[in-house]
Each structure stands twice: as structure tokens, then as C-alpha cells.
């Protein structure tokens, strides 16, 4: 009896409450921001002589991450809905190719429409197969990854398709809006719209509910098939815009553009705190996840590591970050 009383909770009320507050503050949710700052400071000190902090280099990081950021915004919706889209990288490649070919044939507007049509068609097929036939999105989009990149290579006979339209190149990637690179503006627009729609609209809430418990969402009157269709459509459309950003920045369409981006985008989304099992999503987290990857790439290049070493370090950092952010 007396033993229990001596360690009664009341005796240590003050420090306990402080501890409780600290515990309440779930730092795991902020691991991406902490990680971003730590990695940034690390490079800032280590690489101060290599010009890491120069405005030009910092803008470069943003510019290089822009396409991944855009793709990852769409991917956040897919993963928050407990699905996956592996076809985004090849959709970007196919879209860059179709845009370039239609542009040289018919001009600016048809070029842009052709690029968007790629996303519309591929996204709709992915969505329809997943929601109507109930095939797992992993398999559907894995198949689509091959199909899209194959088509892109086939119709171009593996040749790059140059884009000579200056307006297109300026708007999609090469140009600046005042002092700000166009690519940065593009990713800012996607992040802003993505964040508002996910957090502040009915659709966003329904995506999270469908990912969190599809059964309960269904019983609540949410058409979960339509939601699954829509997230895959969004992901395809967003990836096709990313493809046009590649085309504009590199002034050509090529089937290799975007290859491997699906994995970088998934890494960015998971680093950003979106649950791989669905139900939770953070677009701002995704942005920082993508920036962190860009930061690491940039720092490692400046540090003079060769590309094989870069891959090893990048992989290790991603595993470390996800391990720190995991749930108890």
C-alpha cells in the first residue's frame, strides 16, 4: 500500500506535465522538416567553399526538384488513398514525346493538348482497371509503366524530338517569371492547389477517408470507386504536366525523360509523412521530401562524390529518415 502511495502521480505533477507536453508534441510528424534543416546546415558548413549557399545553386536545387515535386503532389493523393502509381515516370516521358511531336506538326495549343491527353488516357485506364475491375493498382500501373515507355520509344524510333517553339520552352521550364525560374512557379502552383484541395475540400477529405477505411467510407455514402478512379486520373494528368516541364526545360521530347521518377516521387511522399497504408497525407511534407532529395543530390555532387557513391548515400539517408519517422 504505502509503496504505491509514495509514487502517486500527484507528487511529481509539475515535471510530469512538462514531460507530457513534450510527449504530446509528436516530433515524428516533423521529422522531415527537422531532417531538411539538419541536412541543409550540414551541407552549408561542409560545402561553404563549393558555393552551396550561392543564390544560384539554391535556385538550381529548386529547379532540379520541380518535376519530382509536381509528380509527387499527384502521388500524395494516390498513396493517401492507399493505392500506388508506378506509371508516372513513363507517363511523363510519353507526354514529352507526344507534346513535341504534336507541337512540330500542328503548333502550340495542340501540342499542350496532346501532352494532357496522354495523362487523361493513361490515368483513366489505370483508374478504370483499379476501380471497376478491382485489379491492384501496383500491378495495373506496373504494366502501364512498360506500356507507356514502350509506346514513347516506338513512335519516336528512340529518337529525341526537338522543340523549337520558344513560347513553349519559355513557359514550360526554361523561362523566368521576373527573378523566379518558371519551374519554381510551376511547382509552387501545384503544391498550393494540392495542399488546399487535400486539406480544405470535400474531395480531399473523402480521399483520406477512403484510404483510412474503405469500408467505413463506403458505408458513409462515399463512392469509393469514383474516388480511386479520380486519384489515379489526377496522378496521370499531373505526371503528363511534369513531362511537359521536362520537354520545356530540355527543349525536346524523349522517351527517357522521367524514367525512374516514380521511385523518387514515392520516396518524397513517404519522407513527407504520408502513410504508405493510406489515410494520411501531407502535401507540404511531400514538397519538403522532394526538396530533401534534391538537396542531397546537389550536395553530393558538389562534394565531388561520383554517381555510384551518390546512390549509396542517398539510399541510406532515405532509409534513415523513414526509420526516424515511423510510428511507435
Amino acid at each position: 500500500m504505502s509503496k504505491a502511495n509514495t509514487i502517486a502521480p500527484r507528487d511529481t505533477a509539475a515535471p510530469r506535465n512538462f514531460g507530457a507536453i513534450l510527449k504530446e508534441l509528436d516530433w515524428r510528424r516533423y521529422v522531415i522538416y527537422i531532417g531538411f534543416v539538419v541536412v541543409f546546415l550540414f551541407f552549408a558548413v561542409l560545402l561553404r567553399d563549393q558555393g552551396f549557399l550561392s543564390p544560384n545553386n539554391l535556385l538550381n536545387i529548386f529547379r532540379q526538384t520541380a518535376t519530382i515535386t509536381v509528380i509527387a503532389v499527384g502521388m500524395t493523393y494516390v498513396i493517401a488513398c492507399a493505392e500506388i502509381d508506378l506509371s508516372v515516370g513513363s507517363v511523363a516521358g510519353l507526354s514529352s514525346v507526344c507534346t513535341a511531336m504534336a507541337l512540330s506538326q500542328w503548333g502550340l495549343v495542340p501540342g499542350i493538348l496532346a501532352g494532357l491527353a496522354v495523362g487523361l488516357v493513361v490515368g483513366s485506364i489505370n483508374g478504370a482497371l483499379v476501380s471497376l475491375l478491382g485489379i491492384p493498382s501496383f500491378l495495373v500501373t506496373l504494366g502501364m509503366l512498360g506500356i507507356a515507355v514502350g509506346v514513347a520509344q516506338w513512335i519516336t524510333a528512340s529518337a529525341p524530338q526537338p522543340i523549337l517553339n520558344d513560347t513553349f520552352n519559355t513557359v514550360f521550364g526554361s523561362g523566368n517569371f521576373g527573378p523566379v525560374p518558371g519551374l519554381v512557379v510551376w511547382s509552387a502552383i501545384f503544391v498550393a492547389i494540392g495542399a488546399v484541395v487535400l486539406n480544405r475540400t470535400r474531395f480531399g477529405r473523402q480521399v483520406l477517408a477512403t484510404g483510412g477505411n474503405r469500408n467505413a467510407a463506403e458505408f458513409t455514402g462515399i463512392n469509393t470507386k469514383r474516388i480511386k478512379f479520380q486519384v489515379l486520373l489526377i496522378s496521370g494528368m499531373v505526371a503528363s504536366v511534369a513531362g511537359m516541364l521536362y520537354a520545356g526545360r530540355l527543349q525536346s521530347g524523349r522517351f527517357q525523360w522521367g524514367s525512374g521518377d516514380e521511385l523518387s516521387a514515392i520516396a518524397a511522399v513517404i519522407l513527407g509523412g504520408t502513410s504508405l497504408f493510406g489515410g494520411f497525407g501531407s502535401i507540404i511534407g511531400t514538397l519538403f521530401g522532394a526538396l530533401l532529395i534534391g538537396l542531397i543530390n546537389n550536395g553530393l555532387i558538389l562534394a565531388g562524390l561520383d554517381s555510384s557513391q551518390q546512390q549509396v548515400v542517398r539510399g541510406a539517408i532515405i532509409i534513415l529518415a523513414v526509420a526516424l519517422a515511423r510510428k511507435k
Binding site: 500500500m1 509503496k3 504505491a4 502511495n5 509514487i7 502517486a8 502521480p9 505533477a13 510530469r16 506535465n17 514531460g19 507530457a20 510527449k23 504530446e24 488546399v196 480544405r200 475540400t201 470535400r202 477529405r205 473523402q206 483520406l208 477517408a209 483510412g212 477505411n213 469500408n215 467505413a216 467510407a217 463506403e218 458505408f219 458513409t220 455514402g221 462515399i222 463512392n223 489515410g279 494520411f280
Partner: protein
Amino acid sequence: MNTADNVVEMRSISKSFNGVPVLKDVSFDVRKGEVHALAGGNGAGKSTLMKILQGVYQAEAGEILIGGKPTAINSIQDAKAAGIGMVFQEFSLVPSLTVAQNIFLAAEPLGTGGLIDDRAAVRRAREVFSEMEVDVDPRAVVSRLGTAYWQLTEIAKALAQNAQVLIMDEPTASLARHESEALFELIDRLKQRGISIIYISHRMDEVYRLADRITILRDGRHLLTAALTDVTPEQIVEGIVGKKIEGQLSYRARDHEAHDGAPLLEVRGLNAGHRVRDVSFALRPGEILGLAGLMGSGRTELARALFGIDKIDSGEILLRGKKVNLGTPQQAINAGVALIPEDRRAQGLVLEHSVQDNLLLPLLGRIQRGPFLDGAKAKELSSSLIKRFAVKVAHPHRPVRLLSGGNQQKVVIAKWLGTDPDILILDEPTAGVDIGTKSEILDMIRELASAGKAVIVISSEYPELLAVSDRVLVVKDGSIIRDIPRSEIADEEYLQLAVQGV
């Protein structure tokens, strides 16, 4: 009392979460070969106490004695080694494996060369089942078996690990009546073999049927431990709730004919799948209709068809005399129908999402401003729902998973009543809910009907059905076999016979 008789003794256990005490100086003991009932309202601390005994949580103060010796239980493995087994409420079996594979999961008998000896596992599983005097095929794949067999497998799993104490948490919740009876007989046999059972249940009749002693917790404190022969059911209920419950569980004749006599809902010749066959009935505003039937009789499927989840093959549904098409839940909701599903965790809630998000999920249209959701409106609406339905929440932004079963159920009900439906269907609305919350829910149902709503209540608990229904439909093999006004039902016995089809 001679402490040597105690297989388990928990002394002065205290535990708190985030500075909030949930157990305060609680002592609890179990004697060899006894059934000890553990009772208390939702949030009284029963599950926390049991989780400490199982090694899921560690007590902050107090000690645990196993067989009279102080024992540290810091993990589930420690608890197993100490002979404590748990029959989980949500079964902890791997559905794709066989019964024998599940029983010896992580403790597989090994043969030559360190490979698993499946034959030995099957043989030993047979031995365990024959000691239990039940007939289960150890080679059967678990996912193909019914819930009653899952439970037997769970019990066998614990016994195979030499458990001396079995914790059973609401073991009859998902069992049909004859399956429950078989379980009770098994418990009697286990008792005779010297196995002790800690029995957690909200059902008073089971406690009286099985238990030797009862311990009641209230608000994290130990209230009383007594032999069942020394306490009356009224004392137990009062102990759990903290106040006298007057007649909430007994029927009060309501003037349900005061409302407009035209039926709100009319169902004609409805067929859906195999479990709804040629069902016709009418429901008037202000009326509470009870659906009685065994599990699998088609009562849940009827509710699902009315709510647009299961496809309707033929027949008509009329709302206020007009034919309607309820092909999807969305259409049903728009027509003013709400369904509180039988499994709140799987179908009613997004467990990882906050209380507020769950409450507002069907109400998103009401908190919109332009295309956006309005945070201020959301907060206002959710806190008004929380208040109106007296949901006990620490914070509306914490995950709903952290709430007790009764409060989770209130969230599900609140979420649906927020849509202001005309027709409310409740499937097992009080399953796994303590008696205090239960009476609150039953009162809520009566109030809704008095306000002119039409209510359908599905329940396996006859006292509950009899307490609220104005009329009872008996469902068997997908069809309605009887339509009995409440006034003609003398007692539970009568209804039970009607359900059996006698």
C-alpha cells in the same frame, strides 16, 4: 484468505497515460480453477488492467504475483511464460494458415534437421481438442471456419502453451446462442481441470451462469470483489454505472400511433442475394420496429439492401408512398435513410482519423463555404454533436481509436443523426457497450421515435429488442416469418421460441 491459492495476484496497481491516471491502486486476484468476472463501465480500466497482466503495458506502481511469487511481466512473452493466455476479442489468428499451424505459431514442433514437423503439430492439436472435448479439424484452414471455431482455436492455442489463466474478453459477442452455450460448457470443463478464467462481459446472465466471484472497477478504482452468491444483479449494475438505472431496459408503452398513420417506408416483395427473400413490411413515422433472428438469418442483409449496399434483385421500396431507387448508399442518404452498421470498427469509423473528422464525414456538404471546407463551421458542428450525444472525448482532434467502445458507438450514432435522417436503421447498436451507455443509447432511440422518426433496430439481445420495439419482425432464412406487436409478446421466452421458428 490464503494467498497460496491465488494463481494470479495483482497488488495496488497504478497506471496513467499522459499524466491522466487510469488505474488507481487496484488489487485483483484469481484463484485456481475459478471463473472470476471483471466488470465495469467503458473506461473503468478493465482492459488496461488486463493489458498489464498480459505484458502489453507496464504498471507504474504495484506488483504482480504468479503462484505466490512476485513476477515481472514486461512483455507478452513474459506473460505467456507465466501461464497467462488471452482469448482475443478481435481474433489474433492468421486466416490463411490451418488450425494446427495457428495453434503452434512461433512454437512449431521441430523434427529432424530443424524442419517443422507438421504431423506432430496436427497430432498435438488433436490432443488439445480432445482434452477440450470439442471437435475441430486441425488441418482446416482458419478462414474457412466460422467465428465459433476461431474462438476454439484461440483457446486451444493458449492451452497448448500451458496457460493456467485464460482471459476472455466478451467471448460471446460474435457467437450464436447455441455456440455460446457450448462455450459455457467448455468453460465448466476447463474449470474442473484447474484452469482459471478471467471473464469480461457486459451480459449479466452470462456472469451469473459462469462466475464464482466478481470484481467491479469504476473510474480506475477497485469498487468491490464478492462471491456472486452475495450480490444481486441490481447491486452489480448500480456498481458499474454509479447510479440506479430505473427501467431503461424495460419496455414502456409509447404512444407510437400519435403520428400520421401513412407509412414512411414500405417494402414490397424485396429480394436481394440469397439472404433477403420476398420481404414485405411497412414502417410508420414514430414507430420502432425490432428485427429478431439468428445470426445469418438475413437481418443484416435486409438492412444492407435498404441502405443501397447490396444490390436489389427485385421488389419495390416506397418512401412516403413514392417508389424510390436506393442503388447506392449516397442515394439512400439523400432519401433520408441512415444505417448504423453492425461492426463499428470495420464499417462505422476511420479509426486512425480524429473524432471530429469521423463525425463530419457524412456532413461535409454542411461545412462548405464555396468550394472549401470551413474550419470554424467544422469545429462548431462537431462540438455541438459531441455535446448533444454526450460523447466523452479528451480532445476532438485525437484519433477515435483511443475512445472506449461505448464512446466510439456514440460517435457513429452522432455522425448519422447529424444528417437528420427520417429513417434510422441500427444494426446491433449496443454490441460491446457497457450498461450505462446502453441505456443512454436505448433512450436516444425512444426519443428519436417520439420526434417522428421511423426506426429499425436489429439486435441479438432479446431484452434490448423488447425494451424498445413497438413491433417485432422475426426473420428466418431471409424471410419474415412473424410480425408480432409488442403487446402480444409476454416475455423473452416467447420471442426466443418465435425466432427458433417454433
